[in-house]
């Protein structure tokens, strides 16, 4: 599933981000290798000093997330996703309220700064959906 600010942006949040954070149920899923191969990229397993990474021009924008602060397990959070149309497919995206919960939990300065925008977006989306 897509998490972080890219997930928020997909849902309508006026935010900026450097990358697309991907949270996988299982990094050993053969589908990941298959997709990477299609864009001439590779998976770099974690070491003592580096997290799991993607390597290659086709995946420069993507980061692997292995843990989400303040959230439940992947399986639990999979219930808190929304389906977003992207091209010919649909992709699971972490819901905005869970992104807010996660950003609150990290306690990082940059996450605290974006919280008001995410909260404003959440209320706007809720009000907007009442009318449409």
């Amino acid at each position: 599933m897509i998490v972080g600010l890219s997930a928020a942006a997909l849902q309508g949040a006026p935010v900026v981000t450097q990358d697309v954070d991907l949270w996988f149920e299982d990094l050993n899923d053969p589908g990941i290798r298959k997709a990477l191969k299609q864009v001439n990229a590779a998976y770099v397993p974690p070491t003592a000093s580096t997290p799991p990474l993607f390597a290659g021009d086709g995946v420069k924008l993507f980061d692997i997330v292995v843990h989400m602060h303040g959230l439940e397990s992947f399986d639990e959070e999979a219930k808190n996703t929304v389906s977003v149309p992207l091209g010919k497919t649909h992709i699971r995206v972490l819901s905005l309220d869970r992104i807010i919960t996660s950003k609150k939990a990290t306690g990082r300065h940059k996450d605290k700064l974006v919280l008001p925008v995410l909260k404003d977006t959440l209320v706007t989306i809720k009000e907007h959906s009442k009318r449409h």
């Binding site: 600010l5 890219s6 942006a9 997909l10 309508g12 981000t17 450097q18 706007t124 009000e127 009318r131």
Partner: protein, 123 residues
Amino acid sequence: MKISSAKVNKLCKEKKLNLNRMLADAGVSRNAYYSLLRKESILPKSITAIANYLEVSPAEFLESEHSNVITTKKRYKQAEDIHNRHKWADMDNIVHTLLLLEEPPIERLRRALLRGRQFNFQQ
């Protein structure tokens, strides 16, 4: 010039809107709407007088607002309504969210990434 209820009903139907809902969203009371329907002319007398003098229809010299202007005003009104119900929310954030909701998700993401990569606030 008068209002054609048939045309209004047709437009509502095309936009899948109920008349009452449309009036409520537009901020027009039912009384005001039905009062307008009964009028032979909804234009000010001065407009009618000019049109009569020039022997043309008022439509010849009246300009309607550009559709972009109408959409922008409508969006701003919706943002104000949301802000009135949630005073703590920032008006700019509401307006920008409404703008982004008009775009497909991929375009929202593209914009977020473009801006994020153009400006590195860490530097």
